[in-house]
Symmetry: C2
Subunit: 238 residues, 2 copies
DNA sequence: TAGGCTAATCATGTATACAATATTAAAGGC
DNA sequence: GCCTTTAATATTGTATACATGATTAGCCTA
C-alpha cells in the first residue's frame, strides 16, 4: 500500500462533499511538500480516483488547483505530474521570498504577542524534534508551516497566501536542488528569529530573515537535473 | 445580446480544446476587470455554458480558476458570483501592492531598455486615449495591464504573476469603493514613472510608485456597500 | 538484429444524465 | 393581510459513458 493510500485511509473517512475535496487536496499537497511524491512523479487520474474513492471529476478539480499553485504540471493530453522547478523558477521563488517575507517582518514584530510567540516556539520545537528523530519529510513541512504562520501573523491574508505558495514551491526546489540531509532551515534559526520579533525589533528580524533565506538558497546546487531531455544538437554541435 | 455574449462571438470562433478554454477565461476575466460584470453579479453555469457553446464541465473549470484568483466567489450549492471585496481585503491588496510593486522598481530600472520604455509609453498613451474618448472600462483594464507589464519587466515571473492577481482584484475594489469617474491612476503618473525608470533612477521610481498607489487607495471611500444583508437584529435591537 | 510501421491499449477531454439541495411560488392557517 | 408551510422549479454536485488522442508492444521488413 502506497504512502498516498495510507494517508488517504488515515485522513478521509466519510466527510461530506466539499470537506472531502479539501481533505484530499491537503493529503496530496502534503505528500508533495513532504517530498514523498517527488518531482516528475506522474499523477494518473484513474489511480488517484481509485485511491480516494471518488470519480475522476473530483480528482481533476484537485489537480487543477494544484496546477494553478504550480505544485503539479498539467500537460495537455499527457496528464499531471509533480512539477520539476527550473533553476530560473527557483531563483524567482527565492527572490520573491526575500522581498515578501523580509518585508513582512516589521509588521509581524509590531503585532506579535505572547500567545503567538509561544505558538511559534512550539512549531520550532516540533521541527527540531522531527529532525532529531529522522523524520525529514515531516520536518520539511513543519519548516514551511513555520514560515507561513509567521506571514499570517502580519495580518495580511493576501501576502500570507503568497508566502504559502512560495513555501510549497520551495519544498519542491529543495527536493530537486538540495543536498540530501540538509533541509534548508538551520535548526536554531527559527528560534533566534522569534527572539528578535518578540523583542519588537522588526529591522533586526528582517535582516535575519534575509540572511536565513540567503543561506537556504546558497545551500542549493543549481544543476538542472537528470531527465532534462539531453539535447544532442547542443552536445555534439552541428 | 449581452456584452459577454458579444465578446464571446468576437473572440471565440473555432479554436481547439485548450485554446478555447483560455479564450473563454480571458473573455470572462476581462469582463470582470473592466467592470462590465459588476461585483455581486451571479454567474450561472448553464447561462455561461450556453453563451460560449460548451458544456458546464468546461465552464466549471474556468469558474474554479477565477475563484482561486479571487475574482469570483464560489458558494457551495449557491454557485458563482463576481467577488465583492471587503474593506479588509482592499487594505491587504493595496498593502501587498506597496510591498511588491515598489520593491520591484529598482530591478525594473536596472533592466529596462529603449524598446521596453517605448512599449510602456504606448500603453500609457492608449490609456489616456481611452479615457478621453470616454471608454472607462477599457481604460481600467489598460491601467492594470500597465502595472502588470511593469512587473514583468523585473524579470521575476512569479512576482509578476502576483502583481497580475493584485491588479485584477484592485479593479474589483475600485468598482466597489471607487468614485464614479475617477479610475484610480492619474493620467500622467504612468508617464512620469517611465521617465524615472528610463533614467535608471530606481529609488526615485520606487518612491513615486509608492505615492501613486497611496493616491489610488486614498481616493477610495471605504464604506461597505449596500447589499450586505441588513441585520435586522442589529438595526432594531433585541 | 535494428529500425520503423501498425494495431491494441491506456489516459485524458468532453458532454450528458441523474441526484441532491437551494430558491421561488403558491396555498393555507392565524 | 401577513406569516408559515409545502410543493414546484431551477441550479449545482457527481459520476459515468463515449470520443479523441497518446503510448506501447508486437510484427514485419531490410
Amino acid at each position: 500500500m502506497s504512502e498516498v493510500q495510507m494517508a488517504a485511509k488515515r485522513h478521509a473517512p466519510e466527510k461530506e462533499g466539499d470537506e472531502r475535496h479539501e481533505t484530499i487536496y491537503r493529503v496530496v499537497s502534503d505528500a508533495i511538500v513532504e517530498q514523498r511524491l517527488k518531482p516528475g512523479a506522474r499523477l494518473r487520474e484513474d489511480a488517484l480516483a481509485e485511491v480516494f474513492n471518488i470519480s475522476r471529476t473530483g480528482i481533476r478539480k484537485i489537480l487543477q488547483r494544484l496546477a494553478l499553485e504550480q505544485l503539479v504540471t498539467l500537460t495537455p493530453r499527457r496528464g499531471a505530474s509533480v512539477t520539476r522547478p527550473t533553476a530560473e523558477e527557483a531563483k524567482d521563488v527565492f527572490d520573491a521570498r526575500q522581498l515578501i517575507e523580509c518585508g513582512l517582518m516589521p509588521d509581524v514584530a509590531r503585532r506579535i504577542g505572547e500567545k503567538e510567540a509561544a505558538e511559534l516556539r512550539d512549531m520550532a520545537r516540533q521541527e527540531r524534534q522531527a529532525l532529531r528523530s529522522g523524520q525529514q519529510s515531516i520536518a520539511i513541512r513543519l519548516s514551511a508551516d513555520f514560515h507561513v504562520r509567521l506571514a499570517q501573523l502580519s495580518g495580511n491574508a493576501t501576502l500570507a497566501e503568497f508566502v504559502e505558495r512560495l513555501c510549497s514551491r520551495s519544498s519542491l526546489i529543495l527536493a530537486v536542488y538540495g543536498h540530501r540531509g540538509h533541509l534548508g532551515c538551520e535548526s536554531h534559526d527559527h528560534d533566534d528569529l522569534i527572539g528578535y520579533l518578540e523583542a519588537g525589533n522588526g529591522e533586526r528580524a528582517k535582516a535575519f530573515m534575509s540572511r536565513h533565506l540567503k543561506a537556504i538558497e546558497a545551500s542549493l546546487s543549481m544543476v538542472e537535473g537528470e531527465d532534462n531531455v539531453p539535447d544532442l544538437q547542443d552536445i555534439f554541435g552541428s
